[in-house]
Every structure is written in structure tokens, then in C-alpha cells.
Amino acid sequence: MQVMALDAIETTCVYCGCGCGLYLHVENNKIIAVTPSLKPPARGRLCAKGWLLHGFANHPDRLREPLMRRGDRHVQTSWSEALSFIARSFDEIKRDSGPDALAVLTSAKATNEENYLLMKLCRAALGTNNIDNVARLCHAPTLFALGSSLGSGSMTNPIASLLHSDVIMIIGSNTTEQHPAVALHIMEARRNGARIVAVDPRRTKMAKIADLHLQLRPGTDIALLNAILSIVIREGMIDEEFIRSRTEGFVDILDHIAEYTPEVAERICGVPAGLIHDAAVMYGGAEAAAIVYAMGITQHAHGTDNVQAIVNLALATGNLGRDGSGIYPLRGHQNVQGACDMGALPDYYTGYQKISEFREKFEGAWDVELPASQGMTAVEIMSSAGSEIRGMYISGENPALSYPDSSRIRKSLESLDLLVVSEIFPTETTRMADVVLPIASFAEKYGTVTSTERKVQLIRKAIDPPGNALPEWVVAARLLEIFGISSGYDTSADVMREIAALTPSYGGISHERLERGGIHWPCPTQEHHGTPVLYRDGFPRGRAVFRHVDQRGMEDERFTLIIGRSQYHFHTGSMTRRVCILEREVPEAFVDMNPRDAAALGIRNGTGLILESESGTIRARARLSDDVREGMLFMPFHFRESPANMLTEWQLDRFSKIPALKMVSVSIRREDA
């Protein structure tokens, strides 16, 4: 009777970083329906992926038992055998080649508790700082630029703050499709009179309803943002008091910025000077102006400079530390913010405590000696796989599709001595693993996740995991035990207690408190209510810093391919492509192409195309659309049949080491030609 009962469990959506609350309606250990929670941020709304969230957890493809490689096959094994094999193999590699021959990539889909324990496993048990997470591929530049300029590498204001904005500038973000709960607030603000400036090479849904759409050439954001800043300065729209009292370095950038006249920017960006001027006056003239951005800004070899250009503009106009103002980097995964907060980074422990400064604190707390040298970043780990790196633990990630230059990634992974992958479904990456660990999905465990607005929220267990799958925190705790580090965690709440004790910004956070609703970090004490808006009373580093950034030269390519996501799929599709309705909506990859380009090449809607870059060659069908400019193409990266990341390259940003995943120059031809 109990098993069959109908129940409704409130939890947090697993897909993007918006952190929408929803109820899973459960019967007979199956999710039969999903409805939205009425609480912020989404207040009773969901996107199609959210409404159809009942589609994958009970899928028969779920991994149910640990698997180990025997020759070219995976055979079922027990947890104890799998885990002791992992520990033995890691130990051997460590003995032969040192701890830095090992690496861990944690998951932005795993909870804070799981990321924390994997981080502890990596540092305390394996003895290396070679740990990173997918943030390296999305918001590493944000972490670097916002962190170094302002003090905290995350969204400055909560999503609801956008309701107080007079002007919202959206740059490099297909907000409506990729962060619907944020778009919801932007559209609501628009209905109440806020004006919208969309800066995007594509005519996105947001661009269509925007007051101004600046359809720039891909990769020319800095020229555009600098020109906007130069107009704001020339028109006297800067906030002198704010600049004087709360920032430094403004005078140093003045001369450089003056070179970016609207006319110069027009030549570089392909946006009419008049339109740039209008956008500048709109942003500069606002009482409270917000800048919302996403992967279109960060996923470049100059991603950090892009973010800095945004920071410069917000600082010059005093648009920080107030409701309606602020900088809104939109996080793409449920818990990519949390993975970073938990120190799944090569240079930080939890709460961005530098390993160079806080090593002793963590050595004391964990009673173990910790490695001192900074670890490698995700792409560096991949590029050393098979040489310096010999053993790797990948949690819930599918780098074989999501990392740049996929064919090279596959070779790297194949050349490892030991590859452990924990997953909920078989993927291109589990196929290459020596050990595959079946993990409980978001609906099958308790824990916390941190959304894009720094809001720590609970996820709650609604159903049992399939077969012998386990929550990853249990797996990590067991591995810690095998490595002789006593853990003694009975629940994930115990893990959160340890996190809170070691992490000032999470100091006041506990599962008990979160039962009553999410909390925005920093929340240093049990009595503290959290901090929705950062920098109200100043910057943690004293003064915020301007740093001038220059536009890089752009080569004139015949076709620039922009890579992104579709509204109906998530990432490498391991979840959404198993939801029959989502798969029906977008069953295969497409290449958006301007009809004029298509006509010149004899391409029609649906024509098979071969796309070729220096890294690889793929096939996909053309979809003619006015939403892309001439010379520009767009395709999503969800599809293993047309893996867009076969085309991308390992060009890294020098500060944040993010690879340039957003765009690549390609040549195209008709499949039948």
C-alpha cells in the first residue's frame, strides 16, 4: 500500500541553472507527472523540459549495476568489487607516477554534498589538486573576471531583481530558450515598461521582442561594449561618485576607450553606429540597468576579456549593489554554481578559499596532508590524458561530446590506464570507461544544489534508484573509507554540516533551514538571512577594478559556425533524448543558414551538408532561417549523430583556460556535391 501511494515531492529542476522549484508526482515508485512550485524564481511556471521531467528517471536504459571492463565488453559486478578495484588501481598509479597522475572531473548535475566529497576524495585521498568541473567550459571567465574585479565570480543580484530594472541588456544569451525563468522576469519587466537591448549575432526570440537588437558579428563583443562605454563617457552618463568612491583604475582606461568610437565599432561589429549610440544612451540613461549574459560572452579564447568589458560598463555607470542593476551571468547547469562553490576547482577549496592560503585549515580539518601545487584545469587534464594523467574519475559528464575537438578527447580517454565514469545512463564516455558506476538521479536522493542566483536549495528523494544504483555521495564516502579517511556520514545533511563548518559563505546553511526555502549565499551564520544582492555596502576587495580590454583581430571567414543549444534538449542529450516528446520536437541536428547564402550554394531546407573545420568533419541538415546573418551558421551540440564539437578547437583563454567552444570557422558543401 505504501509503495503504491500517490505522493507529491517538492524538489528543484535538474536542467539549467535557474533553479525552478517543482513537484514530482509519484505513484508506485514512478514519476507520473510534474507540476511547478509556486515559489520563486519561476512562481508556477516551467519550460517544456521541466513539464516533461517525468520522462527519463524511470527509463529502462538507466544504469542499474556497477560495470567493469573485460576485454571489449562491460560485465556486471558488485559495488565492493568495483570500489576496491578503483582504489587499488588509483593506488598503483599513484605509486608508479605520483598523485598528479590522477584527476577528478566532478558533475554540475551532482549535489553540493557530492561535489564536496569528490573534492575531498581528490585532495585528501588521491593527493592531487587535479580537479575541475564543467564550469571550465562555461563560466570560468566569469569566475576570473568578476572575481578579480569585484570580489565574487557569480551573479551579483537575484533573478527577481530584474523586475526593478529600467533597462536590461542581454548579450550572448538566448535567454527565452535556455534560461526561461530569467526570461520570464525580463518579459515581466518589459510589460511594466523596462526597455530591452539584445546583443546577439542571432535574431533570438528575445531579440525579436527587444527595443533594440544589435546583431553583431560573432566574437566582436569587446569592440561593441567598449564603444558603448566610450559613448556613455562622452555623453556624461557615468556615475562619477560611484567611480570615485568605490572603484580604481578608471582614468587608466579612458584613453584606450576613446579609440572605440561608434564608427570604429561599426566597422568591426557590423552594427550601425547610430544603433550603438542608441543602445549606449539607453543603458547609460537608466536609473537601474542590468546586463544579462551567458555562453555567447564566455566561450571564447578571449572570454575573460569579454566579461571584463561588461564589468567596466557596469562600474562606470554605477550599476552594481542596487536592486535592478547588476551583472547576471546565467549558469547553464542545475548545480554548476555549487560545483565551483564546493571547490571542485584546481586552485580553490570550498567557498573560493585559495589552496595557497587555506591549505593548513583543511589539513587540520581533514587530518591529512594536502597537496600544495595548483592542479590542472579540465581541458589541460584532457590534453595530458595518456601522458601525465593516467587515471581519471569522471562524475556525470560526457566529455566525449561536450568538450572541444571530440576526436582528440576520445583518443585521450582511450589512452588512460584507468577511467572511472559514474553516470545515470550509458553515454559515449561510459563506453570508454574501465569501471562504470550507476548513480542515483536527482529524483532519487537528498541534497542541495546552488542555482545561478547563488541560491542554495534542496532536492528531495521522490523514488528509489533503479537496481543497485547509489547516490554519488555514498560512493564518494565509501571510497574515502577505503582510502583510510574516516567519513562517518549517515546522510547528506551530515556532509552539509561539514561544508558549513569549513566554508564561511555557507556557514549558516543547513538542510533543516533549507526545508523552509532556499538561501542566497553568502550566509555566514545560522541567524543570517542570506545575501540576495551583493556589494550593497562595498566590494569585498575594497575597490572594484577597471581593466581595459582590447578587441582581438578577427579573420574574415567565409562561414562562422556558432554552437549552442536547443530549447528542447539539454547538453549531450543523455536525458532529454530519452524523453520521447522532446526527441520528437527536435529529433536531429540542424544547421541554421541564411537563405541568401543557401541560394548561392544551391542549398534548400533539409539539404544534407558536410561541415568541415581544421579539427573534423560532420554532417547535418540545413534549416534556412533569417535569424542568422549571412556568413553565419548555427547548430546545437546535443546530437551524437552530428557532434558539433568534432569541429571546435583547443584554443584556450589565457586567464580562465576556457576553450573557444562558441564558434569555429568552417567550410560547407552539399552532401551530394
Binding site: 500500500m1 500517490l6 513537484y23 508506485n28 507527472a33 511547478p36 511556471r45 520570464l184 518579459m187 520536437e585
Partner: protein, 326 residues
């Protein structure tokens, strides 16, 4: 038959019914009303109607039609069992939606699983004496008072409930709690329902099915759908929506599932050739309303909108407001 039931005795009446049925009732979970198996918690009877329409208990958004198991080339099938249930607190609007679904799902081709669930479910409906702002059931002729389709019907008279029987099963349920009941009359109920109805009507006096139908062809669907993100939410919470798709998951063993589908999604309309007669959001939106207001009445004799207001409550772009028909 009409009885008075003291408010404090309602849980006892339900507990006794629990001997025959699994009780499903609205309960507050983390502050929000949800339909769940009742285990004696406080009932959320003054909260707004839960977002998951109770019609979805008969046609779940995801359900297993059967599981299949292959052995030596032969398949065996297992059909899920259906249990006796009692849904408590169903509102008149949802009750009307259920009547409409009956006329569709129980007509040829007869839907076996729906029918099984329908036959093994008892319903205690609850009249709406305190309608929500978003309710317009009175204009749609579906509420705030239920007239048929229930086994028992409750009306909140303030101090106590009026309990009315609507079926032989309802009489049996009432008998099981005989000593809790006192013979009653509907004098007060009629007054309360009149007031409730007046309140709903006066919030939108201009609204009527005729008005909506005549506006269908005047509305500028294109600009209205400018912000529509085609999430399908309106159709997933609509109590009269019943479209589904079927998929087989897993080889060689697995299950055949049925999934709520949505005509708000573009792929719903796409043909095998790739051509799509409703590729634009505005076309899908207008045809959704057309279905509710014109086609469903022709097919079933009942209006496809029951005025529950759920589509408005979940709409991303706020376009499902009754104002568009003004």
C-alpha cells in the same frame, strides 16, 4: 439524500471510507496544495485548486500501459493493476471536465485503462463557496456548484457541511458513517451557491462562451503569441486536455508508456514529410482555443473550457488571461 456533517467528523467519515478505498485528497505539501494519498493530514480545502488536474489521475501524464518481457523469442506482458480509489475534494469545474473526458475516452475506440480507473474510483466533490480570483467556471456553466457526476457532494456551510448523495456508492459511503450524519436541507446551500456564483460572474460580467467564440477570429494571435515559449504548460494543466503519445522503452524487455502530449508543441503537428501545417506558435495557440470552444462542444456536447483558470496560472508569457476575449 441530504445530511448535515459536523466539520470535525469529516476525517472520521474519510477514515471509514478508507476501509474500501485508497483516499486521494488535497493536502498542503511545503505550503502548496497537492493531490496525494491521504494519511490523516489536515485537508487543504480552502487552498486554491491543485495545479495537477484530478482528471490526470485517470489519464496520468506518464503511465505504463504494459511491460513486456522477452524469453527465447516469446513475449509475456504484464498490465498494471488498478486500485479502488476515492478522490476527495474534487471541484465542480474538474468534475465537468471528467464528464467531458468520459464522452471521449469511453466512446469508441473505448480506452480500457481509463475505463478501469474510472470504474474503480469514487468521487466526493466539494462545491466552491470561496472561488479564486482566477475562476470563471460560472461563465462556462461548469461551476461553482456540481449537479452530477459525484458519489457524494459536500458544501461548506461555515459551521458544518451539507452532504448530498449522488449515486448508490455514495449512499453506501454515507451509510458507513450513518451516526455522524443528521438529516439536512439545502436552504443555506442554495443561498451560498447563489452568492458564490454572483461573485464569479461579477468579476467578469462580460465573459461568456458566445463572447469567446466570436472573439476567436478577431484576436491578433500573432502579437499575442510573441512571448509564447511553447512550453505546453497550458495544455499540461488543462483538465480537458487528453492528447497523448505512445512509446516503447527498452529492448528486448521494457515497457510501453503513454505520455501526455501537447498541441502547443510544434512537433505535435509535423507530418512524416517534414511539412508542418502549424509551424507557428500563433497557429497552435488559436487552434487550442478553437478546439476547446468549438470542436469539443460539437464532439461531446460539452464546452472544452471549464473556467478553472489553470492555464493562466502557469503561463510563462501571461497570455492565457480571460481579458483577451474582452
Amino acid at each position: 439524500m441530504m445530511f448535515f456533517l459536523e466539520k470535525r467528523d469529516l476525517p472520521e467519515l474519510l477514515r471509514r471510507a478508507g476501509a474500501f478505498f485508497e483516499i486521494i485528497a488535497p493536502v498542503l505539501i511545503n505550503g502548496e496544495p497537492q493531490l496525494v494519498s491521504w494519511r490523516g493530514e489536515d485537508l487543504a480545502l480552502s487552498a486554491p485548486n491543485p495545479l495537477l488536474p484530478p482528471t490526470r489521475l485517470f489519464l496520468p501524464p506518464r503511465e505504463t500501459l504494459f511491460t513486456y518481457l522477452q524469453e527465447s523469442g516469446l513475449y509475456t506482458f504484464e498490465v498494471p493493476e488498478v486500485r479502488n480509489r476515492l478522490i476527495f475534494g474534487l471541484r465542480p469545474c474538474d468534475l465537468r471536465a471528467l464528464s467531458l473526458l468520459d464522452r471521449i475516452m469511453l466512446a469508441e475506440p473505448f480506452d480500457e485503462l481509463y475505463s478501469k480507473r474510472r470504474r474503480s474510483t469514487a468521487i466526493i466533490a466539494l462545491n466552491c463557496t470561496e472561488p479564486d480570483e482566477s475562476c470563471f467556471c460560472a461563465q462556462m456553466g461548469a461551476g461553482p456548484e456540481a449537479h452530477e457526476g459525484f458519489d457524494l457532494l459536500l458544501t461548506d456551510l461555515g459551521e458544518r457541511y451539507l452532504l448530498e448523495t449522488g449515486s448508490p456508492a455514495g449512499i453506501m459511503l454515507a451509510r458507513a458513517s450513518e451516526e455522524l450524519l443528521e438529516r439536512g436541507d439545502d436552504v443555506e446551500k442554495r443561498k451560498l451557491m447563489r452568492e458564490s456564483r454572483d461573485r464569479i460572474m461579477s468579476a467578469r460580467p462580460w465573459l461568456s462562451p458566445e463572447r469567446m467564440r466570436s472573439r476567436l477570429r478577431e484576436i491578433d494571435w500573432r502579437s499575442l503569441s510573441e512571448e509564447c515559449i511553447s512550453c505546453g504548460g497550458c495544455s499540461f494543466v488543462c483538465p480537458t486536455c487528453h492528447c497523448f503519445t505512445i512509446a516503447d522503452l527498452g529492448l528486448p524487455d521494457g515497457e510501453r508508456i503513454r505520455c501526455a502530449d501537447s498541441c502547443i508543441l510544434s512537433g505535435f503537428h509535423r507530418m512524416a514529410s517534414g511539412a508542418n501545417p502549424k509551424a507557428r506558435a500563433e497557429e497552435r495557440l488559436s487552434s487550442w482555443y478553437m478546439e476547446k470552444l468549438e470542436h469539443m462542444p460539437v464532439r461531446t456536447g460539452l464546452l472544452g473550457c471549464v473556467g478553472c483558470g489553470r492555464c493562466d496560472r502557469v503561463c510563462f508569457s501571461g497570455l492565457h488571461r480571460t481579458d483577451i476575449f474582452r
